[in-house]
Subunit: 257 residues, 4 copies
């Protein structure tokens, strides 16, 4: 347990350079705010963003990443498919993945879910109350019955995700909606956590409860194994006494018409 | 309930033209054997295959298809991505999908699952016993505690599928493996059934139990609704009394740096 | 499909006789209001209540009941354990069960769930908005994105139910809570639907959407099979060539010390 | 992580005193064999059995138990209901529970599951091959693709358990059946693992793989929290502006008829 968890926080890193309010909230990018907020002795944190070569997600980086955190919004389409395929494969091989907020529409989340991932939304700076649905889950340790965020972008149901999403949080919104705001999935050997709070125009990644959730989730998503998927042709483990009527055909004798 | 269910059976239709044994078992293609085997008054069945224009899956055909059955094996890669995307969207909008046997590695199944869908396999003509795990499920009506197939290709665990696969059948193999051979999923508004029996070199699609399962599954997968997914920006349903600290920024006054 | 569904609506039927407001809302009992509200040609509805002999749930009644609806509140403890055991067994054998509102703490629901079924609550006559989380589910047909109830008792999370509860509705409350207000389960061969709206001091069982949900749920919960559970000792289906080291012991030769 | 896990291994402890073969395999009881087999520095293990006062499960013992292991067979009915209720409550409050083999029919397992827990069975000393369905799960660490047990009692499908059983192992049997032989559940705040290998007439609790699984499961089932379930009446978190039409009635003014 003394080995550090290698975390890579990926940010589209666009709004911070193009919107004065976002820049003032997150001058070094919201990935840096998250890194500062979850910093701890057992974590080794690295940053990556869209405009770096290979989006900052080279083979070497992915190889060394135990848990990847993903924040993207208006430039999902600019992430090359090849990068998405590599990240996808790494998750199936065991790498943990935390998808934040508008990442619900990222290529990587949609390709892992297989669904549309649509929802209803509104920017009105309203209050959100995040209810803890699973107090015994590693991700909710240190979180009470609920916590509040004073100003958020609303994400409301119906959220189009697969039915095996294990619901950890459900949010209440001042404007009248609800949302499954914290949901876990397992795909291949990898663990995935979607967490909806995190709009760029509010200081959500400076909230103690949000950072606690993210820190917990990183530790929860740490891989137990990392292994390639193969589709092996195998020998029988028991004697097969049935006679195979297709044996001759397979031997190639009468294959062609 | 008097409206017919429109079923399209899609077959790669390659082995039947290139392997004498398969040709003799399924002279008109295994899609035709399935069509004959599940024919009933409440079904309106159409065939489609890879070498037709647009793979036989034009917009008009998909629009009229309630349930699509998919058989593919050695030519998965030849199905154009655009076709896969259209079928995928239709499933999320409500169309039912039955994926058979080697279709576990089809583009459409992998993109709906988000996983690798790998398994272990062997062609030895061994016996398979398919156990009924959910006798109260619509798909197992008329099936007893189990049924046997005298000669099959073995598909064994671990099968890399999402954890919300509802297991309807588990298979026992003479050679020593087990397999979740009948599994249902829901994605978007669509129902999906994966069923592993169906190797082209054995007359599996002439087996009464297999055909019964497929017929049941078609009726189970029939859409209750068909609807596009949208991601609407919505007005609040309750008065929002919180003041939005980002309102000015959003108004565009100080957006640019 | 021409066979009628036999529905029994069971009501504790106590508040209606002991509280003027409830009596004025439901003069013949809320079971009668539900019966009137879901009446249809394909349903054959019978009423039963706590003070009848055997709680109105004789073997003959249960034998003929396809779907049982359960409303109880302050007299859960007065339902004899023997009745609960019989109903429990019938559900496992295929009978559908709809548990309403305060029935979350009934003996039958708790024994089927195996959990505490606790929640947080408040009587303040506040507004509830019931969000439709699964628009493709049979239970939500005819229900829009959401519906509202002007005055309800609040039931809030965390609701202590098993994790296989399939969430059909999530409710928003004016006072700030959320709740998984419509949840389905399968136990044995039987289908179960828990639906939280239904406080006795408000005319909730006269609401068109609530009645629509109950009517849909009755049809969804109809049994496909009814069958006793047995635990049979069976003969092997394949030749067992392993030699059993315990065979002699089992033969009884050296059983006793 | 330096706090020990307190494990209590409960055994009916009857066959060992009444059957020569069992006595020779497990002279001190199979609970003692398990204790020896999983002994480790991080575990503090205690034994308990049916014939002790309060079945060895006094309040003090349960209070100090993090994970309870349960083996019972022919004397399920002799465990007092009051003991079962206490253990049940402890599991819901967070205590881990491992239920072994014939414990599928124990009062505690049935009451936690809410189902019949029936299966088909045979004693023929046949071979079982336990397939690892979830290689990334904590319970399967150190276990390969499968492991074999040379002689077992067969437990076969259909196993009547709730659908949220997360399948960790599926077994193949020489005689032709399959079984979900390792399944996890969560109930309340507690984790539950059912593991079917373990017949008393074979030395199964001396098998390295079986002991590895049990040791892993103990650590997996360790509680993160222990907390009573309450059903609190709560104040609103938001101002309720709806006027309550039942307020007067509730005030008691016109309660009685």
């Amino acid at each position: 347990m003394c080995q550090k968890i290698h975390v890579t926080i990926w940010n589209e890193f666009y709004h911070e350079k193009n919107n004065a309010r976002v820049a003032s909230l997150y001058p070094d990018g919201l990935h840096k705010a998250i890194a500062d907020g979850i910093a701890a002795d057992d974590l080794d944190i690295r940053l990556a963003s869209l405009d770096e070569p290979e989006c900052g997600l080279t083979d070497a980086v992915l190889e060394q990443t135990d848990v990847l955190i993903w924040w993207g919004h208006c430039r999902h389409a600019d992430v090359p498919d090849e990068i998405v395929r590599k990240v996808h494969r790494k998750v199936l091989e065991g790498m943990g993945l935390l998808v934040l907020h508008s990442g619900h529409f990222s290529k990587i989340f949609k390709s892992l879910m297989g669904t549309n991932c649509s929802l209803r939304w509104r920017e009105a700076g309203e209050r959100e109350r995040v209810w803890n649905i699973d107090p015994a889950h590693p991700i909710t340790q240190g979180i009470g019955d609920y916590f509040e965020l004073p100003h958020v972008e609303m994400y409301g149901e119906r959220f189009d995700i697969p039915s095996d999403g294990h619901v950890v949080f459900i949010s209440w919104y001042e404007g009248g909606e609800v949302f499954r705001s914290g949901v876990t999935f397992e795909r291949g050997y990898g663990k995935i956590f979607y967490f909806s709070p995190g709009h760029e125009t509010y200081p959500i990644y400076r909230d103690a409860n949000v950072l606690r959730v993210l820190g917990n989730a990183v530790r929860w998503a740490r891989p137990l194994i990392r292994r390639e998927h193969i589709c092996p042709k195998v020998e029988a483990l028991e004697e097969i006494r049935s006679e195979d009527p297709a044996a001759t055909a397979r031997a190639g004798v009468v294959q062609s018409l």
